[in-house]
């Protein structure tokens, strides 16, 4: 969740206007044109501090990766142009399908868990609960903690033989699973740790959304005889849909790019059971010196993310309610 721009959160929290306010429409020449130019310059000046690093460290490497993806490059010897061979070999390699499937497995397990958990927390902390400010801070703490630290703690919690989780399960007579040492449990372990870590982020976004809902709505619903669940499904969720949409977009993009926790918890193992796309890109480049293939895989991932995001944005009209 490190890739979320702080401005996105701030905007949601303060409920600032969502669309930029356009300059007053100007007609004619002279002062109107000049003020429009000035407006453009102001916008440009404000954008530059983030646009320059973006160009240098995001767009530049992306273009370079596109070039590298058409070459055979082992990082040491000069790159050789091989056209589309990298894409062809990736498309015929069964491992490519595996890593995309594992990534999908992660998203399908992680998304509902983190959304429902975050919503429950947001609902609880939106009520007049004592010490809720402290609790909000506590739940947000994992979000700003380094993944390496979190992953090491979770590895220890989920240690099959002497971890806290299996020890507690043992008190109830349950033999805990092998967690990250077992191929069937490695991905669930990662999903569990990820949902725990990102819960606070989802909570903050949804909390901000909840606070924009007019309390009169609830009063009206109550008068109409709607119970708690009815109010949740007919008032809260529809009016929360813009925040839900934001959470979905960000979580899906981050979900496709899942890496830190995999690298630190399982390294993609055991036996490749938790090998996800970005871990594969990392291994191909830095372990096996196949930078061309890795760049091609990066671009395949980019196209998948782009397609999914476009579909999401197109589909939002059907269910997102901007009130």
């Amino acid at each position: 969740m490190t890739a979320v721009p702080a401005t996105a959160i701030a905007a949601e929290e303060t409920d600032a206007p969502r669309r930029p306010v356009p300059p007053r429409p100007v007609t004619g020449r002279g002062p109107g044109r000049r003020s429009r130019l000035r407006y453009a310059l102001v916008v440009l000046a404000f954008l530059l501090p983030s646009a320059i690093p973006m160009l240098l460290f995001v767009l530049g490497p992306m273009v370079a990766a596109a070039g590298i993806s058409f070459t055979d490059w082992n990082l040491l010897a000069p790159a050789k142009w091989i056209g589309l061979d990298n894409y062809a070999s990736l498309l015929t390699d069964p491992r490519t399908g595996d890593v995309f499937l594992h990534t999908l497995y992660y998203i399908v397990g992680y998304l509902p868990l983190v959304y429902v958990g975050g919503l429950a927390l947001a609902l609880a902390l939106n009520s007049a609960l004592k010490g809720r400010t402290l609790l909000r801070g506590v739940y947000f703490l994992p979000v700003v903690t380094s993944w390496i630290v979190v992953a090491l703690v979770w590895r220890w919690l989920l240690n099959p033989s002497n971890g806290v989780v299996n020890t507690v399960l043992g008190f109830f007579g349950i033999a805990g699973p092998g967690w990250w040492t077992d191929p069937n449990w490695a991905m669930p372990s990662i999903i569990l740790a990820s949902a725990w870590k990102d819960l606070g982020f989802v909570m903050v976004i949804l909390l901000a959304g909840l606070q924009t809902i007019n309390p009169d709505m609830y009063d009206a619903a109550k008068v109409d005889g709607a119970g708690w669940w009815r109010r949740l499904f007919s008032v809260t969720l529809p009016l929360l849909s813009p925040s839900t949409f934001f959470v979905l977009i960000i979580s899906l993009i981050n979900g496709f790019q899942v890496f830190d926790q995999v690298y630190a918890m399982t390294g993609g193992g055991p036996a490749g059971a938790s090998q996800v796309v970005v871990q594969q890109i990392y291994d191909l480049t830095f372990r096996y010196g196949r930078a061309g293939e890795a760049s091609a895989l990066s671009w395949m991932l980019f196209i998948v993310i782009l397609a999914v995001t476009v579909v999401q944005i197109r589909g939002q009209r059907r269910w997102v309610n901007y009130g």
Binding site: R38, L41, V42, A45, F46, L48, P49, I52, P53, L56, N74, L75, L76, A77, P160, S161, G178, T181, D182, P183, G269, P270, A271, G272, F286, R287, Y288, G289, A291
Partner: protein, 415 residues
């Protein structure tokens, strides 16, 4: 508004300057004073001070040359070196392993070396780092893997100590008698990995690669028996993965805690055993049909893009052949110096525990060198370890794991 615009413009301009400023390199002064960088893993985890002793000796003997040492854990070293080489930020002198030498040499990142005193080196070790008659790296040490054993546990079980005549059958019988899972005592530990496998394969008369060097040759009855020898220890005489087996330093810790009777590991952990409260010694590793001990050799190379090739080469040779290095290594029991002078090595025999240091040299009578391929070395090693662990965990039969490993490795190294 105007004022605000100026502030913004000013901020933007300074940000640009900062961003551009980051690109320019700061010049380093000094006309004859040279600082060379040395990136290593050999001193990590216990020998940092010993390396510093050698650095101090070199700087004293070569005024004007300063060595800036960077030490990385072995597990991260390969990735870091590869990244540094790609980025053009590699150290002037860096460690490599025998298994990776061929790949680096072929890619032209190693500078050719002129050795001032080639006679100082053990010829076989020196030749291992020559390509077409040119020296591209210098051996910095060699070491082998032996069988460590806890004398107290053997005494308590009434068993006689391992000898160089032992075979797998002897080891297995002893391990079974020594294991007492209820008391948390394990009889044996041998990693389930590529490194153990090519060696046990040799101990069983097999070979990892065929003569062409581009195809595997381990999927044979001997290969299957060798794999079973490793994987079937798990859960019987050796802890399972769920119990922590395979995590870093698990095996040495189990041994120094007095809970492990036999341990297969390298002579580089002698210093970790210095203060254990029980008697211990080493023996040549048991074989099956053949005797074969793993011999590892590390080396240092000078980066082809180094700006201080002469100073770097001087340091490389000092680090690998000077008397200070020999004395430091022998005193510390820190792997063996790659020197030809047997008389100097003899002093190593009387340096204290383990008593049977002769086993370190006896192991050289039958050796197994790591299989080396031109491309896909790391991938080959990873696949082999992964498939063996599949068999160890019981998720695949040994036969299936080896077939799968054969198919996957052949695809990678076939060129």
């Amino acid at each position: 508004m105007k004022r605000h615009l100026l502030v913004v413009a000013g901020l933007t301009a300074s940000a640009t300057v900062l961003a551009l400023g980051g690109c320019s390199s700061s010049g380093t002064g000094g006309d004859d004073a040279v600082t060379i960088t040395y990136s290593n893993f050999i001193s990590n985890d216990g020998n940092e001070e010993n390396l510093q002793t050698i650095v101090d000796g070199f700087e004293k003997a070569n005024p004007g040359i300063t060595v800036d040492v960077k030490t990385l854990p072995y597990a991260d070293y390969g990735t870091a070196l590869q990244t540094d080489l790609a980025a053009g930020t590699a150290a002037d002198v860096f460690d490599i392993e025998y298994a990776n030498y061929a790949q680096y040499q072929a890619n032209g990142v190693l500078a050719p070396l002129t050795v001032a005193d080639p006679a100082a080196y053990r010829p076989t070790l020196l030749e291992a780092y020559q390509t077409d008659g040119t020296q591209y790296a210098l051996p910095s040490s060699f070491s082998d893997v032996v069988l460590y054993y806890n004398k107290d546990l053997f005494d308590a079980a009434g068993l006689s100590y391992p000898t160089s005549d032992w075979t797998w059958a002897d080891e297995k019988a002893a391990a079974e008698k020594l294991t007492d899972q209820a008391a948390g005592i394990w009889g044996d530990h041998q990693p389930v990995s590529f490194y153990e496998y090519y060696k046990t394969l040799a101990q069983n008369g097999g070979s990892f690669l065929d003569d062409s060097g581009t195809k595997t040759a381990f999927n044979t009855p001997e290969g299957i028996e060798a794999a079973k020898w490793l994987t079937e220890k798990s859960g019987t005489v050796m802890p399972t993965i769920e119990q922590g087996q395979g995590t870093p330093d698990f095996d040495t810790k189990l041994f120094t805690d007095g809970k492990l009777a036999m341990l297969h590991t390298g002579i580089w952990v002698f210093s970790s055993m210095a203060d254990v409260p029980f008697g211990w010694d080493i023996a040549v590793e048991p074989g099956n049909t053949d005797k074969a001990s793993a011999v590892f050799s590390n080396a240092v190379a000078v980066s082809a893009s180094s700006k201080h090739q002469d100073a770097a080469a001087k340091w490389a040779e000092y680090l690998t052949s000077s008397d200070v290095m020999v004395q430091t290594r022998l005193d510390a029991g820190w792997e063996l110096p790659p020197i030809s002078d047997e008389a100097q090595l003899d002093t190593y025999l009387g340096k204290g525990d383990p008593a049977n240091r002769q086993a370190v040299f006896d192991s050289l009578d039958g050796i197994a060198l790591p299989p080396v391929v031109a491309t896909g070395q790391q991938e080959m090693q990873d696949i082999m370890t992964e498939e063996l662990v599949e068999a160890q965990s019981g998720r695949k039969s040994v036969e299936d794991a080896l077939s799968s490993a054969q198919e996957r490795i052949d695809a990678v190294i076939g060129g």
